[in-house]
């Protein structure tokens, strides 16, 4: 088991290298020169006065953009190997500090959001499965369909409109305290709950038809014990896979949610960085997000063994 975890962790290194190279290439391939973007005000105006071409060349040189693409990449990777993630083109702050400072906020948001998605998704899915082909089933599945297809920013504005502006119960913006966490995580959770609910329903239906469920029933077990102890546990495997994948969806959802709710986080940092062609900052946020995704997938694989004792890792 430990050996397995160690191997998997070692495998993240080539994965991250690959991710960083692809991200680096894409950044250089899409149109837009960081030096020119620095000169332009993102508000639509241009910033500098009569800047000479030499001054612009100087900016490119100072940022290391005058070197060939591969050289830039090797220099970057060399820095990262020594724990130096570079400095942001825009703010001149160290990327490592900028990323670490906001990371806990995004982790908290995605974990709570995922928690909400799981609770709602499982509740709806189980209810729909047990009451299949009734109006309750239709209602919950309609709800999950709405959740699936609802744009998160739209839901965010609706929730802000009701709970912040109309009722005044919750703040519309902010990053401190539990109150500011409620609306963003509920938004994220609601959107992600739809797909979980659908999956839980279908796997539950499948499991409920299995012979061991009939056996459990015939032993005289109560329906609650049958559902939770026998059916649900066996229905978990595909659901856990999807939940793991949802983590990635939630991370990308955080990009929008953090911007709308003016909440501190990695997604907001990444989006600004991409728009401003802030190469080191984009790389930093992508590496951290990729690492998170890889680790969550490892956790999912380990969870299989816990859920189903037949699965063993050597």
């Amino acid at each position: 088991m430990l050996q397995y975890v160690r191997t998997r962790l070692l495998l993240t290194i080539p994965v991250l290298l690959g991710v960083s190279f692809i991200a680096f290439s894409i950044l250089h391939l899409i149109p837009g020169d960081p030096a020119t973007v620095l000169l332009g005000d993102m508000g639509g105006g241009a910033a500098s006065g009569d800047m000479s071409e030499e001054a612009l060349e100087n900016i490119r040189r100072e940022l290391g953009l005058d070197k060939p693409f591969l050289v830039q990449y090797v220099i970057y990777v060399g820095g990262v190997a020594q724990g130096d993630f570079g400095r942001s083109f825009q703010t001149n702050r160290e990327v490592r500090g900028s990323v670490l400072e906001v990371l806990p906020y995004t982790l908290l948001l995605t974990v709570v959001g995922l928690g909400i998605a799981i609770i709602i998704g499982f509740a709806l899915g189980i209810i729909a499965a047990l009451k299949r082909n009734t109006w309750i089933d239709s209602l919950t599945m309609t709800f999950s369909l709405i959740g699936l297809s609802m744009p998160s920013f739209w839901l965010a504005f609706i929730l802000i409109g009701i709970f912040s502006y109309r009722l005044g119960w919750l703040p519309s913006i902010g990053s401190a305290g539990i109150k500011t966490l409620i609306l963003p995580s509920v938004t994220l959770g609601l959107v992600a709950s739809g797909i979980i609910a659908r999956l839980v329903r279908s796997t539950m239906l499948e499991v409920m038809r299995q012979e061991y469920v009939t056996t459990a029933r015939s032993k005289g077990l109560g329906e609650r014990a049958v559902v939770i102890r026998h059916a649900l546990r066996n229905a978990l495997i595909p659901v856990v896979t999807i939940v793991g994948l949802q983590f990635g969806t939630l991370l990308s959802g955080a990009v929008i949610i953090e911007t709308v709710f003016a909440r501190r986080g990695l997604g907001r940092l990444a989006v600004e960085a991409v728009l401003r062609r802030d190469y080191p900052l984009v790389q930093g946020t992508i590496l951290v997000a990729a690492l998170g995704y890889v680790l969550v997938n490892l956790l999912v694989d380990l969870a299989y063994a816990w859920i189903d004792p037949r699965i063993k890792y050597e």
Binding site: G32, D33, G40, G44, G45, A47, M51, N92, L275
Partner: protein, 581 residues
């Protein structure tokens, strides 16, 4: 009516000469402000010329006795209450180092922490003393000498002296600092010479007349040399200036806090009271999404917000709990430069037809609910040296546009688009998304009416910049706020086609270059204004761009926020702002 403040200023600057005022370029004046100013100078009993470096003469600010709209009312000062925290819904600036920053939103904040050498009145565009109490320009326009205020302290306790000015300007020119805007505003800067603690001379390698206007911009405000040296690249996270507020903390992505500077005793000439600021603290909250930001005004989470949405303006104006403030920004308005270097927009007749074919007033009413003004020329109307003559040049006239197109040889065929020599009249219009994209769709519709086809490309900002540099456009977009008409060099001089590519008309025009160079070095203010008027006329004669709209800051504030007046670029002077209980 001479208030105490004005009297004091008057005593400080006793050397006034009418001749040198005009000659030396000591006064930025909108044309309308000329006569009261001259009258004010005439009031002086004994105009004296002080010889300056190289036989220069003294020019002093106009604080003498000119009645200005910014004159404080006694009642206003009595009422003002001290205390309170002002919450400002805003966006996050990349850095707070004025020497480095290239972001408009940061420039407006800098005035809280830093004082400029010269202050500009928003309404009259006149100079007032800032950290410099008076200044002189040499006859050749290459040396500017400044008398600095005595007793001024940076927030870290470093005294403000001539060395601080020298340090600030020298460090801006240092390639390692990576200055984005300030380096442009220093123009052909050569060096600064410290004469004594309160006198500094700034030398240029060629005559540079925009300098006094440029000095009113916050990016040239002196920084504490001690703090800047100690912090190095991190000065932008811990800025230290002389301003009415001190930097307290910056929580990235959350907020930034400024606290009142209790020692502040050197108010700019444009300020309306003396002593420290009224507000205890300013909390600048970073809210990237405009809808959310505006929402915090109504939810009470912000007292002031930057970015009221145009469709909300009318409703809030009618609500006595709020005030909507829409200061127009000087410089170039939003424009759509036409590529005069490639077919078919290289043809003047076609460019003129395009200008006649677009009904900009209707477009702006549609997009901005009447909250903005259509631009008419290369400068926006509040700019120094604005030429109102351009306003009548291209009225919306579809018939005239069609006539010009026929004359240029573009005739309607069987399709919707005009043709010449078998080629369709198709233009590539490259712009950003959002409101600019919507404007693009409307312009496209108007051009279609006269048989001009448009391929509209709505790209993100960085991608548009790359496309313009590659000259892939017929119609581009740019906007550039500025305190001096030298912005026309930035946008229309051929040296800015490569490199920064702020000249997106792409065509080298030696005649225009020469006019722009002359105006940038002309020392006689009247002559300079006339030259810029001619340049505006010339640009419109050549139909080098479609004027869109004049930029405006959309400030929304609770009615309890009092004493709001504006910085030269439309920011709020929070020094005079106070909060009514």
């Amino acid at each position: 009516m001479v208030s105490g403040e004005r009297l004091r200023a008057r005593l400080e600057h006793s050397h006034v000469s009418r001749r040198t005022l005009l000659k030396a370029g000591g006064v930025a004046l909108a044309l309308g402000a000329v006569s009261p100013l001259l009258a004010a100078c005439g009031d002086e009993d004994d105009p004296v010329s002080t010889p300056g470096p190289g036989g220069a003469t003294t020019a002093t600010p106009d604080t003498g006795s000119t009645p200005a709209p910014s004159a404080p009312t006694a009642a206003g000062e009595d009422e003002a209450q001290s205390g309170g925290t002002l919450t400002l819904g805003y966006t996050e600036p990349p850095t707070m180092d004025p020497r480095v920053s290239g972001a408009t939103i940061a420039w407006r904040l800098f005035y809280n922490l830093f004082d400029p050498l010269i202050a500009m009145d928003f309404d009259t565009r006149e100079y007032h003393p800032g950290l410099a109490s008076s200044w002189e320009v040499s006859e050749d326009g290459m040396i500017y000498a400044f008398s600095l205020r005595d007793g001024v302290m940076f927030h870290d306790g470093t005294p403000f002296t001539a060395e601080a000015v020298q340090y600030t300007f020298d460090s801006i020119m240092d390639p390692a600092l990576l200055s984005l805007a300030a380096i442009g505003y220093l123009g052909p800067y050569d060096r600064s010479e410290v004469i004594d603690d309160t006198t500094v001379e700034v030398h240029f390698s060629e005559p540079y007349s925009p300098f006094l206007n440029n000095l009113t911009h916050s990016v040239l405000s002196p920084v504490s040399p001690t703090a800047a040296e100690a912090a190095g690249a991190d000065f932008g996270q811990a800025p230290v200036g002389t301003g009415p507020f001190k930097f307290k903390e910056w929580q990235p992505q959350i907020s930034m806090t400024f606290e009142r500077n209790p020692d502040y005793a050197w108010p700019l000439g444009v300020y309306r009271h003396e002593g420290p600021a009224y507000i205890d603290e300013i909390v600048v909250a970073f809210i990237p999404e405009e809808t959310t930001r505006f929402g915090t005004l109504e939810s009470g989470e912000s007292l002031v917000v930057d970015g009221v949405q145009p469709q909300e303006v009318e409703r809030l104006q009618a609500d006595e709990n709020y005030q909507i403030l829409l200061p127009a920004v000087p410089g170039s308005p939003q424009i759509l430069p036409l590529n005069a270097d490639v077919e078919p927009t290289s043809d003047l007749l076609l460019r003129q037809a395009i200008l006649y074919a677009v009904d900009m007033d209707t477009i702006i009413d549609t997009l901005w609910y009447g909250t903005r003004k259509a631009a008419q020329g290369p400068l926006s109307s509040p700019s120094w040296g604005y030429n109102p003559a351009v306003e009548e040049m291209y009225p919306y006239d579809q018939a005239k546009a069609e006539e010009l197109l026929e004359e240029a040889g573009w005739v309607m065929g069987s399709g919707d688009v005009r043709q010449k020599d078998g080629n369709d009249l198709m233009l590539e219009y490259i712009t950003t998304t959002g409101i600019q994209g919507q404007a693009g769709e409307l312009v496209q519709a108007y051009l279609a009416r006269v048989g001009i086809g448009v391929n509209l490309h709505q790209l993100e900002y960085a991608a548009t910049a790359a496309a313009y540099l590659a000259s892939e456009h017929h119609i581009a977009r740019i906007y550039f706020s500025h305190v001096d008409p030298v912005v026309l060099s930035t946008l229309y001089h051929s040296r800015n086609i490569p490199g920064t590519n702020f000249n997106r008309t792409m065509k080298v025009d030696p005649a225009l270059d020469e006019m722009l160079d002359n105006a940038a070095s002309e020392l006689d203010q009247d002559a300079r204004i006339q030259q810029y008027m001619d340049i505006q006329q010339y640009i419109m004669d050549q139909a080098l761009m479609i004027p869109l709209w004049e930029e405006t800051v959309f400030w929304g504030a609770h009615a309890s926020v009092k004493g709001i007046h504006f910085q030269p670029l439309g920011g709020i002077w929070f020094y005079d702002t106070w909060i009514e209980e």
